[in-house]
Symmetry: C2
Subunit: 296 residues, 2 copies
Amino acid sequence: MIWCSGWRLASAVSNAGGLGLIGSGSMIPDVLREHICKCREATQEPFGVNIPLLYPRIEEIVKVVAEEKVPIVFTSAGSPAKYTGWFKERGILVAHVVANVRFALKSQESGVDAIVAEGFEAGGHNGREETTTMTLIPLIRQNTSLPLIAAGGIASGGSMLAALALGAEGVQIGTRFAVSEESSAHLAFKEHVIKSGDGDTMLSLKKIAPVRMMKNQFWEQVRELEESGASSDQLAGILGKGRAKLGIFEGNLNEGELEIGQVAALVQNIQPVSSIMEEIIREYNQTAGFLSNLKL
Amino acid sequence: MIWCSGWRLASAVSNAGGLGLIGSGSMIPDVLREHICKCREATQEPFGVNIPLLYPRIEEIVKVVAEEKVPIVFTSAGSPAKYTGWFKERGILVAHVVANVRFALKSQESGVDAIVAEGFEAGGHNGREETTTMTLIPLIRQNTSLPLIAAGGIASGGSMLAALALGAEGVQIGTRFAVSEESSAHLAFKEHVIKSGDGDTMLSLKKIAPVRMMKNQFWEQVRELEESGASSDQLAGILGKGRAKLGIFEGNLNEGELEIGQVAALVQNIQPVSSIMEEIIREYNQTAGFLSNLKL
């Protein structure tokens, strides 16, 4: 949710009954502090911060979160062993994002409060195992009794219910909120995403670190390099810096890295968060009612 | 389900309350006829035949199916326009397997009775869009009102219920039956599959036609070729002929092509079909009961 989830989106989600997350991955420490303060002004409800642990200024980021007394963090893209204890000592709840069983067990050993299991269909950075939500959720459930949050492919009440049927206790919704009215993504990016269909995103850059993004001119360059057997250095060279900002925040649809989930094919409107939440809850209840009549 | 699903497996599934399918993709026409006859002796219930339309002796295969008055066919790997009308004229029900919206619409236009939507996590041949079951089922549901059967990642009552929550009316189960007692796969293959974990299968051979298989020595050779930018001819050369038979039917775990779904990571026993069906129904009912108490 880099370049999408600032204080506006996070507070809107919390105000609508979810747990809003500020995505710190695209923020320098001072900007993160500003978003936390503004979020606190905009909602009375709890909210959290997502922290990619590979962030270059990670030491400063975690300090900001602790100083601002953020109650919950979602950590990702790194070892849960490094900061979980540090956060827990400060009374902060920790959920860690994983894409395989090994890291789920590592998260549990590190003392996390919950696990987010993210399937292959999710947007942005992703696991090397390519395990989909349908397989990953029961697999992580089999291996831990910690609260489990499903991510990847969830944008409706039906898919939320599906995630619970697979063994999750909650869901993390990215793509649908990334194109909400309150998302800080560029309007051109949002409009491009809602018009997309199946097959329009691919997991790419696997030799560096797998990222799901929309097919565009930049993706095509990457694909050609990959098919010709390019090295990870060559790929890193074409990736450069700031590609995601260019695409998502500045709306350069050709040259930017357009990170988004596969479920974008199902999202067809730019809506306010409150409408999205109402729709999801209505669909969830309808589907649950319907299925309760389908006992075998 | 090539090299797995002969008359023993198909009749066992039909006898246990499912719709058993004979996989004709690994059978010459005479062998198919023999399996149909034996299946009919082994069950009073309806069963079907799966027909990959790219099969070299397809004209003979469809004739055998019609002559033997098989009531239902599941067609895959080819255009539904070619044989659907022919089957329908003979009173045979047709379900066509798709991995994207375009072929779902094409199936509908061709007059199929049902659509099987198969996600990225499924074993064997797969779509180029890499759309997972979690995304594909709601997407196909949005585009057609035909009966919809979900495939890929389904091996338990929980995942069956999840598929229905996503909008399917039924499920197609491959992997779990491929390692059942009644499957004709080699015991070494079955034992290898049930010991596998997450990340042990990958979608491979994408330059020819994507196939999900287990990582092994053969897969490693393919991967090295792919990463070095090999052409599809070079890949076809190493694939050769009979790789799937070698791995699945003859149990050569190093040199064979071990086609199986991602959900293999969740399958832990070789069981008779009747136990598998009982378990799935019990889990399905338990999960449905549990979820009906979770209305929001």
